[in-house]
Structure formats: C-alpha cells, structure tokens
C-alpha cells in the first residue's frame, strides 16, 4: 500500500524518484473512526497527514474553516510552526498516510519546488488567517520588509559548550541550528552551528562530549538588516546558497530568517499580483497579471480560505485591474471627470471566477467630447475581453451608449426605467442596483443611486413586480429527487435554484428600504438592523449564500481544469456527503425565504 502513495497529486508530483523512494519508505498508515479528533489546538504534530479516504474538517472553535478530502494534506503549517492552531476532526471515517516531520523538512530543503508548492498552499492559509483578523491589507499595500516575515528569535550557546550538550539542546527545542558566542582572536564573535556541522563534527574524530562547539561552528555569517527589503534577503540566500540569514538591528542580532518562512511570505500570490497590476505600464503587462487570477483563486480555495474572503479579495484585485485599465485607455481629464462602475455580482463583491463584463460610466455634466469618450470606452471593453472577461451578452457594458452618459442623462434614464417598468427595464434596474464605483468620482454614482431610491422606494406596485422573478424558477424544480440522484443525472442549476432567489429577494428588500449597500451580506445586515427581516432568516441566508458560492467555485474550478467555461451547473453526484447535506439545508432555507417574500409582497395576488 505504501506504493499507492499519491505521487500524481500536488505537492508530491514534483519529487524525484529518489525522494519518492524515501517517502515510500517512511510513510505509516493510520485509521480514525468518524468524529475522532486527529489534531487538537497546541498539539506538536509529528507527521504530515495525506488523506487516502474520508473527509477531515478543520475547525476554529465551533466553526468549520476548511474541509480536506482524499489526496489533500494537512497540517503543513502546524508542522513547520511546531504547533497546531486549529482542531482537525474526522467528519467521516478517515484513512491517511503519515509522513514524519523530519522527512517533510528534508524534502523541503532538498527540493525547492516541493517547498514552494507546499508553501503556496501554506501562505494562503496564513493569509486567510490574517484576513480573519483584518490584517490582510498589510501585505498588499506596503513593500514588505524583512521584519514583516517570520523572524525567529535567536538562541545562543557558549562556544566552549561540548557538541553533545549542544545536540541535546537542539533536540529539546526541536531546532536544527543554534548561534555560538565565542572569542576569536581576542574579540567577541558569533557563529552558527547546524545539523550539517554536526556531520563534520562526527567525521572530525575527536570525542564529541569534549569537543567545543566553537571549533566547528561557522563564523562567516551572512547578515541582513531587519529594515531591508525582503527581496534582498532572498537574493542573499540565493547568492550564498544558504537557508538562513542572521537578522540584525544595527549591531544587535535580533533573530534568524529561514528560507521556509521567507518563501511562505513571498509566495503570497495576492501580494505579487497586486504589485504587478500597480506597476503595469501597458495593457499587455496588465494582461499578464490578469491571467494569474484564476490560479490565485484556485490556490486560495485549495488552501482552505473561506469563500467570502476569496470573493472579497478577488473583488479588490478585479477593481484594481479595472481601475488601472481605465487609467491606461482614458485621458486623465476623463478619468477625473467620470465614475467607472462595475455592476452585477462584481458590484456586489460576490464575483468568484471571471464571468461577463457588467460595467458602466457616469460622466460629469457638460464634459462633452463624445468622440473621445466613445473611443476610450471601446478600448476598455476590448482590453477586458482580451484579459478573459467576455463581453456581456446583454450588452451591459460602457462601450454601449445605453450604459454610459452624463449625470443628468443617466438620472433621467433610470427614472424612465422606474416609471415605465417592463421586463427589460426591471432587469436594468436590478443590475444597476448593484453598481459599485471602482475609479474616478464616486459622488456621481451616489447621485444616480439616490435618484433611483427616491423614485422607487414608495412605489408598492413596482416593488412587487421587481421582486416577482424570485418565483419565476418556482417550485416545479424537483430538487429533492435530484439531490438524492434518483435516476436523474441532470445537473442542478445553482443560480436558478439558490443564488438568484437569495440575491434578488434581498435586492428587492434593499430597494424598498432605501439601502445603499451593494453586497448581499451588507444588505442583509442593514435589513436585520431595521427589523425588516427576521433575525434567524437573515443569518441563514448569509450562510446559504456562502455555501452556494463555495459549491459554484468548486464546480467552476473543475470546469476550468477540464478546459470548459465555468457555468452555474453542478453535478450533485460529484458532491461529498457533507456538501450534499449543506446543499439540502440551503435549498430548504431558500424555500423558506421565498415563502416569506410571497407573503411580504403579496405575490400570490399579483398573478
């Protein structure tokens, strides 16, 4: 069975034949019954788990923050840190390989790609944790310095200490290096003793229990200032072919920077992509950054980042990308005198994988220059299409005259939608409700929005017609039979059955309550604060939306892997038991919400 180890799966697929043999030799196999706690907070893990069969939940408190399935490995972060910070529980019976800590460490130092793959995953987990505490922007906005990465505190021994005592000390601290203070030619000096030096010590021939460690320590340390850019530290490691740098503050040694920690920090992709977008000088350069986005999303998702954080981060990156693109195609005067909008899911911040462009442009009254504006808008849409954001089939893009205009003209247009509602204008209204400013003057958008809210909020007939499509994909869908996969392999449309009723129902309520927020979650919070929506229903709806987004993301990534365009359909037979249960609960909540909306808008009387 050790020969069935998943060498085809990342990160193990990059191992050399020799390294594979080592893995095969060193793995054990473990069995956990359902509900067994595999790792608890503060455990010092001895192994990396690689799941053969079963599902493991990673929990913080009572909250499940990630789910791991076959061929996934955990907890790399805890293994490197020497301490587990989440609880890992077998959601169903689990069989897993156990790869010892020292073997994983050895593979990391021997095979840089393996390290990078393991850490790309790891860093995203770290950034997910950072996001939970609102510190994510730290990485994306500042140029990182050495002391922002994990600098480990220094540990010293005296140079006269014998090698055996030093090894005892290393063992006790689970460390592989120690700093050595000694006198060299009458001056104080600091050297380093590592596991590699231990090999030299053994070959040296003198008895180890009397051999002073200073005789074998390396006193030519490579140092880096705590305030130096992190890239410099990376260059030093590459140039000197070393794994550790001594970090100094003036003359004082403040710690050690290890290659692992540096890589884990630098492989934070969102940070790198943000830098590339900001630095792009041409559309081609921007395009290269844009093409990294799906990979980032895949990594974040695989790394166990919560789906709402992924969507928020992707929303920010998209916004930066659109802003930079607009700056490159439009004149500075136009950028300053206009407001670039994104709408639909992008506007709500619930976009995950790239789908259609939904955007618009509001221009300050009296700007004129119709020719220049049209040309800039055309180039903008073309650039986005080039980046892989297909043009909106409904034509909701600023390259169409209907979705750009000067402020007064735009206000007029939206009022017409409300005063003369039909299918087309209600759709436009729904899309515009989610508009968010990404570049230029946001006050322009705010003015149009208040025009919409003023005109619509008290029109009960309009509100009911606006909300009515929630029922359009009504109860005729036999969800339960599909969920149970009874003789029906038809895929389930997540958007029709779940996402749309939630998003649109909440959008209608937001319009009625004159709520200016664009995100569904933010709208729900506002509705709860005003007592419009029952508290339990609101919370359930937020969670349901996140479950649906998570499922859609997973299915979309699978589609991308297969070279298909991501859609809204999921194959329920591909879901794990856990996901199926979540989906069942979610659809029940959607049904409850629908019933509540029918009553609220008296939609049964409308027909």
């Amino acid at each position: 069975m050790p020969n069935a180890f998943p060498f085809h799966a990342s990160p193990f697929d990059c191992l050399t034949p020799g390294e594979r043999a080592l893995v095969r030799q060193s793995v054990d196999i473990v069995y956990y019954p359902a509900d067994a706690t595999i790792l608890s907070v503060d455990d010092a893990p001895e192994h990396l788990h690689v799941i053969i069969k079963g599902v493991v939940q990673q929990c913080e408190g009572d909250e499940v923050i990630a789910v791991h399935g076959p061929e996934d490995c955990f907890d790399a972060r805890g293994l490197v840190a020497g301490r587990v910070s989440n609880r890992f529980v077998a959601a169903e019976e689990v069989i897993a390989y156990l790869l010892p800590r020292d073997v994983v460490g050895g593979l990391i130092s021997a095979n840089a790609t393996f390290g990078a793959l393991l850490f790309s995953d790891l860093s995203n987990k770290l950034s997910a944790l950072a996001q939970r505490h609102g510190r994510h922007e730290l990485y994306s906005l500042t140029l990182a310095r050495v002391d922002e990465a994990l600098v480990r505190p220094p540990h010293f021994v005296d140079g006269t200490t014998d090698v055996v005592s030093v090894v005892h000390d290393l063992n006790a601290r689970r460390a592989d290096h120690v700093l050595v203070r000694s006198q060299r030619d009458g001056v104080d000096a600091v050297g380093m003793f590592t596991n590699t030096d231990l090999q030299r010590a053994i070959v040296d021939g003198r008895p180890l229990n009397t051999l002073p460690v200073a005789d074998l320590a390396n006193f030519r340390l490579v140092k880096v200032a705590a305030s130096a850019p992190l890239f410099d530290a990376l260059l030093l490691m590459v140039r000197h072919d070393i794994h550790r740098l001594v970090v100094t503050d003036g003359e004082r040694i403040v710690g050690l920077l290890q290659q692992l920690d540096l890589m884990s920090f630098l492989s934070n992709h969102s940070y790198l992509i943000m830098l590339r977008i900001a630095a792009a000088r041409t559309i081609e350069e921007l395009g290269r950054a844009a093409r990294q986005l799906p990979e980032l999303i895949s990594l974040l998702h695989g790394g166990g980042t919560r789906v709402e954080h992924v969507s928020r981060l992707v929303g920010e990156l998209n916004a930066k990308l659109f802003e930079r693109t607009w700056q490159l195609v439009a004149s500075p005067a136009l950028v300053e005198a206009s407001c670039l909008l994104v709408m639909g899911s992008e506007g709500r911040g619930e976009q995950l994988l790239r789908t259609d462009q939904d955007n618009g442009l509001i221009i300050r009254d009296g700007f004129g220059q119709a020719q220049e504006v049209a040309e800039a808008c055309r180039r903008f849409s073309a650039a986005l299409a080039e980046f892989g954001y297909p043009e909106c089939p409904g034509g909701i893009m600023l390259s169409r005259p209907a979705w750009r205009g000067e402020l007064a003209e735009f206000c007029d247009r939206v009022r017409q939608w409300i005063w003369h509602p039909d299918g087309e204008t209600l759709l436009s209204l729904a899309i515009f409700m989610d508009a968010r400013a990404v570049s230029g003057d946001p006050a322009l958008l705010a003015k149009v929005r208040s025009a919409v809210l003023d005109a619509a909020a008290h029109d009960a007939g309009l509100l009911a017609r606006f909300a009515a499509p929630v029922l359009a994909f009504g109860e005729q869908l036999p969800w339960w039979s599909r969920l149970l996969g009874r003789g029906n392999d038809e895929a389930l449309d997540l958007k029709k059955s779940g996402t749309f009723p939630i998003v649109h129902g909440i959008r209608a309520l937001a319009l009625e309550a004159r709520i200016g927020e664009t995100g569904t979650q933010a709208r729900i919070e506002q509705l709860l604060a005003r007592g419009t929506l029952p508290a339990d229903l609101g919370t359930d709806l937020c969670e349901s939306l996140h479950v649906l987004m998570g499922l859609k993301l997973k299915a979309g990534l699978a589609d991308l892997d297969l070279g298909r365009a991501p859609g809204n359909a999921i194959d329920v037979t591909q879901l794990t038991t856990l996901e199926r249960d979540l989906l069942k609960d979610t659809l029940a909540i959607v049904k409850r919400f629908r019933a509540w909306l029918v009553q609220h808008y008296r939609l049964d009387a409308l027909a």
């Binding site: 069975m1 050790p2 069935a4 069995y31 019954p33 019976e93 069989i95």
Partner: protein
C-alpha cells in the same frame, strides 16, 4: 489478560521444547497495543507440500500501521513454483531465485515479530506454512497469540444477524468495511490491508 491454565501449560511446554534460549524473547509480554499483521505468498495451497516464496509483515501500533517498519522477504523455494500460483502472486522462479534461504527468512521474521500477537486473514494457513520454516530453527511452532480478521468479521456479522449467510471472501470483507483494496496478492499489501481491517474491526467490536 491473564493466561488461562491451558495457555500457561502450553507456554511452559513450549519453553521446554525451545531449542535456543535466544528465542525466549518470543514469550515476553508483548508491548501494549502492538500486533504484527502478516501474509505469505506460496507456491500453492497444499500446506504439506507447497512452500513460502514471499512474506510481508507490518507492525500495528494502536490505530497506526507502521508501514515504515515493514518487513518484505523473498524466500528461495526448494521445489518448483506452480504456474497457477504465478498467475496469482506474479513471482516467477527467477524472481525468487535470489530469495533468502528458509532458515534466514525465519530468523528475520521472528526477530521482527518478537512476542507480538499475529494478525492476518485466514491466518491459520499462513501460520501453518510459516511453522514449517520456523520449527527447524527454534524447535516449536509460532508461540504468539493469533487474531484472524475473518473470524472477527464473522463475529461482527453474526452478532448483527445470526441467520444470514456470511460471505467471508477478502474482497467482500474489505468492501463491506469500506476499506480500500490495493494491488492484492503482494504479501506486504495483503498484510497491510489485513492490518487495516483489523484496526477497523477492533473499533467496531471492541478490544481483542
């Protein structure tokens, strides 16, 4: 578990028969929660005439199979390997020609097992085959306690439904327990799978 009077008597008798005192270690108290799962591939199914050509053994500690400390031995048979059995285990005569002499294989195996109880699927057959290797070396049969996975499975099924016919084929057993089958009929794989079934059955039916 305190040994009953018959076990104690047998132990005393076997100790007396023991040829070489270095094997007294086989009678020590086994380390707690440790077992050795094993499986043999043979030239055929005749316990008296056929011979062992490969042995796979793996230690079990609690819920863990210590595959990193596994033992895989090829044994040089004295007689020809039957074509039918080659089809099962895919070891040809030339593959086993470099194998260990039976006495060396037995020594390595006994050192690996020590006093730990043995675990296997239809262990009786494997033990009978192994006894032919072991007896010339130490003068007695394998003295360790033996746990048969098919027996544990039978007990479990019988308890649930005494009237039903119980299919004890290995593939059925593994599938029913929801355990992965991999590359059967290699001694080490079969030993690992039997070990896995043992660990799970122990969870289901309690300690053995």
């Amino acid at each position: 578990m305190t040994p009953g009077p018959i076990t104690a008597l047998r132990r005393w008798w076997q100790l007396r028969q023991l040829r070489d005192p270095r094997w007294r270690c086989l009678f020590d108290t086994p380390p707690e929660h440790e077992w050795v799962a094993l499986d043999c591939e043979t030239t055929g199914l005749d316990v008296r005439r056929d011979e062992i050509i490969s042995i796979g053994a793996v230690r079990i500690r609690g819920r863990r199979l210590l595959t990193s400390e596994r033992l895989e031995l090829l044994v040089r048979p004295q007689c020809a390997v039957s074509p039918g059995s080659i089809r099962v285990h895919q070891l040809r005569e030339r593959d086993v020609a470099d194998g260990l002499a039976p006495v060396d294989a037995a020594t390595r195996l006994l050192e690996f097992i020590g006093p730990r109880p043995l675990v296997g699927y239809y262990l009786e057959f494997d033990v009978a085959m192994l006894n032919r290797l072991v007896r010339p070396l130490i003068g007695i049969r394998l003295p360790q306690r033996q746990v048969d996975v098919s027996g544990m499975y039978y007990d479990l099924k019988y308890r649930a439904n005494p009237d039903a016919w119980i299919d004890l084929r290995f593939a059925t057993l593994m599938q029913d327990l929801g355990l992965p089958m991999q590359d059967a009929h290699r001694a080490i794989n079969d030993a690992v799978m039997a070990g896995l079934a043992f660990v799970k059955l122990r969870e289901l039916v309690g300690d053995r």
